[in-house]
């Protein structure tokens, strides 16, 4: 008897088969997959170039089956600008962590967004430096302990964590700026929707797009992989409200 088989779930073509180096409980893998699914669905994999940051996801190019440039620390938006201006027909995205984007790369991200560069940024915010071993990031929460603030972040010395989407929303240039999270299946679905809209707007050549994705770092938070998503929900959602902060189809304040 012949059996009808329909593939209902498979690896996206935009993801390679390499085994990831990410820690158990880290959500980089989920975010990678969402980006890859969107590239497949929009049919742009073969004309996409990714720009990798410095940090845990510096090796992102090992996991995506698209052309990739490895940028210097924080400079991915400048590197993406250089490429995209010459090849506006290609789809360009930067994948950056919070140390990369909100600290050393603050100048590059603000100016790329302000020029309205037509590429997409996936901004992974896990409130800490991962690759270097858990130091304080510009996004580390007040009172959060890290290896460079073992007593907890002192806002009188380090200032308050930077809310990047809110900060970029202050720019007059039209953009798509949204914050999502991947700590539950429901949030993953919403995150994918935002990532898809970000890339769709780029395909249409309309505006700069940035999706901030709240992400986990159990290793450097000092929590079990199984409880990392709970830590995110308990500690990050209050300070980093989810939602769309700017959309080219919405009225600009």
């Amino acid at each position: 008897m012949a059996i009808d088989t329909n593939v209902i779930f498979s690896r996206p073509k935009a993801l390679s088969e390499n085994i990831t180096h990410y820690c158990p409980g880290c959500t980089h893998g989920v975010i990678h997959r969402l980006v890859a699914e969107v590239l497949d669905e929009l049919g742009v994999r073969e004309r996409t170039v990714g720009v990798a940051p410095v940090g845990c996801s510096v090796l992102a190019y090992n996991y995506f089956a698209v052309d990739f440039i490895e940028a210097a620390h924080g400079r991915a938006p400048a590197t993406a600008t250089g490429f995209k201006r010459i090849r506006p027909d290609m789809i360009v995205f930067t994948y950056q962590g919070d140390g990369d984007l909100a600290s050393i790369g603050m100048g590059e991200i603000v100016h790329a967004a302000n020029r309205g560069e037509k590429f997409t940024t996936i901004f992974v915010n896990n409130a800490i430096y991962g690759m270097t071993g858990g130091q304080m990031a510009p996004t580390t929460l007040p009172g959060q302990r890290t290896t460079t603030c073992p007593q907890g972040r002192d806002v009188s010395l380090a200032g308050y964590p930077i809310r990047m989407v809110e900060l970029l929303s202050g720019l007059r240039t039209p953009a798509y700026l949204v914050r999502v999270s991947v700590h539950s299946p429901l949030h993953v679905v919403a995150a994918k929707k935002a990532i898809r809209r970000a890339f769709q707007l780029q395909v249409e050549g309309r505006c700069y797009s940035l999706v901030e994705v709240l992400s986990t770092c159990p290793t450097n938070w000092g929590v079990a992989p199984t409880t990392a998503t709970k830590w995110l929900a308990d500690n990050m959602l209050g300070y980093y409200p989810l939602g769309t902060y700017k959309d080219p189809d919405q009225e600009v304040r």
Partner: protein, 356 residues
């Protein structure tokens, strides 16, 4: 092709277009801001790209991304701006990316001044960024030569997949001279003819342009590959010029760029006094004309070598290394925007010859 009277900075911009390089990224800095002002109206005429970046740090990293397209890309800047680009310079060398960077040098260190100097020799010729790398360095001594070397710079960058620096002191950028451009301008490079640019992973494996090699064996291999490339460059791309070099010379002057032209005047005037001096002018600061300077210095009639620079003495370290103690070596230099005059050079030559 008729000759045009042009300011050096504008001629440099036009030369890039003649080389088929129509993608330009820059940040304003004296004494070369005229290049950006020229390109801002000239590039749209040829369908090119110009982005005024937020900083020279961004310029360098825009160039990195731009070079990954496989098209010809370049920037122009001056000393403090070039320092800020050294991050990207190191990455682009490690990435084997072709790119042209023009340094219209001003006096330093620090913010220094805005007048011409040659005090960035070390940074250019020895690698200003981190890691084991070199850039090819071309040093024009006239506006015409700046045009010719700009075109050569893009060819060398493409052939060797390496950053190339064109270094001209502020004088080269600011003075006006008559120049001639090629009758036929080059077509922009087609990236599809190369096997490394990022064009989208269509019908092939994904390509990655990177300088990170966590496996030490692979990092060493990348450094071996770079070293092998520099070896070929040293064998094939050395360029220098001799002026009034003969067996009558009693002394040899080594100078490059604008300083070499001033030394030519000094040499002409000394000749009228019956003092025969030759000029050795490196055109490539890397690869340095090592064998050539040794050969000229070793000649029996040469009593001593004088290096003249618009710096406190930087190229002299290469001269010293290359002449291997064959002849006494002396130095004359002014800096901070003060340019040695022919009379100062002549006095120094007379003084050296009198001391014998």
């Amino acid at each position: 092709m008729t000759k045009k009277l042009m300011k050096g900075n504008e001629a440099i911009g036009e030369a890039a277009i003649a080389a088929g390089a129509i993608n330009y990224f820059a940040y304003p800095i004296t004494p070369q801001s005229e290049v950006a002002e020229y390109m801002t109206w000239r590039l749209p005429e040829v369908g090119g790209v110009f982005v005024q970046a937020e900083s020279e740090v961004a310029v360098g990293n825009m160039l990195l991304g731009a070079a990954c397209t496989g098209k010809r890309v370049f920037t122009t800047s001056s000393s403090p701006g070039i320092s800020l680009m050294m991050e990207a310079m190191s990455y682009m060398a490690g990435d084997h990316l072709p790119v042209v960077i023009v340094n219209i040098t001003r006096g330093g260190p620090g913010l220094g001044g805005i007048l011409p100097a040659q005090s960035d020799y070390f940074q250019a010729a020895k690698a200003g960024g981190h890691g084991d790398y070199h850039a090819i360095v071309l040093a024009p001594s006239s506006v015409q030569e700046a045009v010719d070397l700009m075109i050569l710079a893009f060819d060398l960058a493409d052939n060797y997949r390496t950053p190339v620096i064109v270094i001209g002191d502020g004088m080269i950028g600011q003075m006006m001279e008559s120049v001639e451009f090629p009758a036929k301008y080059r077509e922009p490079v087609n990236p599809e003819t190369k096997d490394w640019p990022l064009t989208g992973a269509k019908g092939r494996k994904a390509r990655v342009i990177k300088s990170l090699f966590l496996d030490p064996k692979l990092l060493e291999k990348n450094s071996f590959d770079l070293a092998a490339k520099y070896k070929v460059i040293k064998e094939k791309e050395v360029r220098c010029e001799l002026y009034k070099v003969s067996d009558k010379n009693r002394l040899l002057i080594a100078a490059y760029g604008t300083m070499a032209r001033i030394c030519q005047t000094a040499i002409d005037e000394l000749e009228d006094e019956g003092i025969s001096v030759g000029l050795f002018r490196p055109i490539t600061l890397f690869p340095f004309p090592e064998k050539e300077i040794f050969r000229e210095t070793a000649k029996a009639n040469i009593r001593a070598v004088l290096t003249v620079e618009m710096s406190m003495g930087q190229m002299i370290e290469d001269i010293d290394r290359c002449i291997k103690g064959k002849k006494p070596l002396d130095f004359y230099g002014r800096t901070g925007g003060i340019v040695p005059t022919p009379n100062e050079v002549k006095d120094k030559v007379r003084q050296m010859l009198a001391a014998k």
